[in-house]
Structure formats: structure tokens, C-alpha cells
């Protein structure tokens, strides 16, 4: 496709840019010790600030904090296991304000995560209840890559605690591609 040609799908995707992707969400549980312990054991991470109150209290954190990379874990949607494979692995049904749904329906069912940018304003403490909002930041023009043809979609999730304090942010980019175009582009 040349730049001069009109891309009707890309034109339809334009409306999603700068708009929320899914409703604001609240974490099912506040930051808590059992989930931290589960994570620490799964990753063999022995940093004492995550579990040892005495050590953590003597650090700049002043007490136990959650591993920063758990940010997204706290607010992940509670999954509906029934039908998860049929939904392509999505834990819940996607809402209509999601460009990924539109791309799936247009045949760009392949998904490859390409970039993750996490930003931490402060570490989370026990009892913090996370809320999040997600906004579509950009959708690329139609691209041909070694993985096939499709579109890059970038969104930004902002994590807040009580009083609208921003505690973290994640920018995430995926490539949505048509799997039947993989060989064609090689």
C-alpha cells in the first residue's frame, strides 16, 4: 500500500486515539503481603524490603513495599477462565472502545508485544488500593515487518491511589498483524 492510497481501516482506527480503552478499573484487592510473598517466591527475589518488616523499616522505604514490577498485577482484571482460550487469552471480554477488538475483527488477530515502559513515582505499600485508567496513545500507519503486516497500537495506563495520587504509569506497544501475511513479507 502506498501512502497515496486510502486505508479505510486505519481511518476507522483514528477515532480511538486519545480516548479511554476500557472503563477505569479498581484493583480487586489492596496491596497485600500474601500476593507479594507469592511473587517473591515465584521469582526467587530475596530483596528483604518486600517481606522483612524489620529490615524494610530501617531503609528509606520505612516499611514493607511491593516489588515495583508487580504494578500491573494488582489491578489485572479477575479472569474468567471459562472461554479464555476462545477469547485468544484475554482474561475478560474486550469492550467496544478497544481498537484491538476492531483489529481482531478485521483479521489482524496476531498479537506481539514490542515495548513496555514502566515508570514508578513511589513504591506501593500494604493497603494501597490501586485504580487505573488506560488511554490509546497512538496507532501507526499500516506497516510491513518481518512478522507480517499490520498496525502498532500504543496505550498508556496511569495508576493512581487515593486522592488521585499518580503512583505509576505504563506505556505498552503491541503489533497487531494478519498471520497470513507472515510468509508474504519474508
Amino acid at each position: 500500500m502506498t501512502a497515496a492510497e486510502v486505508d479505510p481501516l486505519r481511518a476507522r482506527l483514528e477515532v480511538y486515539i486519545g480516548t479511554p480503552m476500557g472503563p477505569p478499573a479498581v484493583a480487586p484487592d489492596p496491596v497485600n503481603l500474601p500476593m507479594i510473598r507469592h511473587w517473591v517466591d515465584a521469582l526467587d527475589d530475596r530483596n528483604p524490603v518486600y517481606l522483612d518488616e524489620a529490615v524494610a523499616a530501617a531503609t528509606r522505604f520505612g516499611g514493607i513495599v511491593a516489588p515495583p514490577a508487580m504494578l500491573q498485577t494488582w489491578s489485572m482484571a479477575r479472569p474468567r477462565i471459562e472461554g479464555i482460550a476462545e477469547r485468544g487469552g484475554s482474561p475478560v471480554e474486550m469492550t467496544q472502545d478497544n481498537p484491538i477488538l476492531a483489529l481482531d475483527e478485521a483479521g489482524y488477530v496476531g498479537t506481539l508485544a514490542t515495548n513496555s515502559e514502566l515508570e514508578f513515582m513511589r513504591y506501593l505499600r500494604l493497603g494501597d488500593l490501586l485504580q487505573l485508567t488506560t488511554e490509546v496513545e497512538s496507532i501507526s500507519e499500516f506497516k510491513t515487518t518481518s512478522l507480517g503486516k499490520g498496525y502498532f497500537v500504543t496505550w498508556v495506563t496511569t495508576y493512581t491511589c487515593a486522592e488521585d495520587e499518580v503512583v505509576g504509569r505504563q506505556r505498552f506497544r503491541i503489533f497487531k498483524f494478519d498471520p497470513s501475511t507472515i510468509e508474504a513479507s519474508e
Binding site: A42, L43, R60, Q72, I84, A85, A113, E117
Partner: protein
């Protein structure tokens, strides 16, 4: 300067060019599944090999939360419990799959004082036999000390 494991590295001793100790992680189905479930990621590609292969992947593969978690651990295992991560930016490449150990390498690319803090940027690379799994930058601070 010798560093005592479990103690925080004095920020003032860290300089540009410092190389982080190599971290080698054997990747097994157990590690991939443990990380996925601990991060509450039930996407079948992270625990169901048939599902992963049907999607074109060679096997189950590590989820991004787990990759980020190991990168964070790689940094704090080196810097110690006083370290605070500010940014963790990665570009994703080949999947992390069973039987392909991950090698975490890193080097300090910037170190500056900001008030009482030493702010350090580390260029990181996580690779296996297939290529680069993740490359990027971590920004971490320590008390300047």
C-alpha cells in the same frame, strides 16, 4: 570495593562504565508458569504448550510481567535494598522459552547526583540462544552516601 551481599551499594561508589554481575536464569516450564500465575496472568500461552504452538510460538513463553520482575531483581540484587527503581523500559524480542537460559547483562551508562540521591541509568540486555529477549534501560536511585 567489596560489596556485602544483602547490603545496599553506596550510590557514590557507582560510576559510568560499571558492569553488573552476570545473572543467568535457567528457564523451565515451572518458572514460566510460577511467574505467570504470581502476576495473575492466565493467558494460556504462558502455561499451555498446545495453545502457544497453535499461536505460532515454539513453546509456552514467559509473560512480560515476569520478564520485568526478573529485570528488577537483576538490578536490586546488585544495588541492594535501598535501591528504588524509577523507570524500567524494555524493547521485547525473542520469547523466553523452556530450555533456553536467560543471560542478564548490564552496564551503567549514566550516574549523577540529584539532591541526596545518586541517580543511575543502567543499559540492560536479556538474551538467550535465540537472540535478544529484552533490551532497554533501568533508572534506579540510591542514597548518595
Amino acid at each position: 570495593m567489596t560489596h556485602v551481599p544483602g547490603e545496599s551499594r553506596p550510590g557514590g561508589e557507582i560510576g559510568v562504565g560499571d558492569v553488573l554481575p552476570l545473572f543467568e536464569l535457567p528457564v523451565t516450564p515451572t518458572r514460566i508458569v510460577a511467574g505467570a500465575i504470581a502476576s495473575r496472568d492466565f493467558m494460556p500461552a504462558h502455561h499451555d504448550a498446545d495453545f502457544a504452538k497453535a499461536q505460532g510460538a515454539p513453546d509456552i513463553f514467559m509473560n512480560i510481567l515476569t520478564t520485568n520482575g526478573y529485570v528488577a531483581r537483576f538490578i536490586t540484587d546488585w544495588a541492594g535494598p535501598e535501591a528504588m527503581l524509577h523507570k524500567l523500559v524494555i524493547r521485547l524480542g525473542v520469547p523466553a522459552i523452556p530450555g533456553q537460559p536467560l543471560r542478564f547483562t548490564g552496564q551503567v551508562t549514566e550516574a549523577r547526583e540529584e539532591g541526596e540521591e545518586r541517580v543511575i541509568e543502567v543499559a540492560i540486555r536479556v538474551a538467550n540462544g535465540l537472540g535478544d529477549h529484552a533490551t532497554g534501560t533501568v533508572v534506579v536511585s540510591l542514597p548518595a552516601g
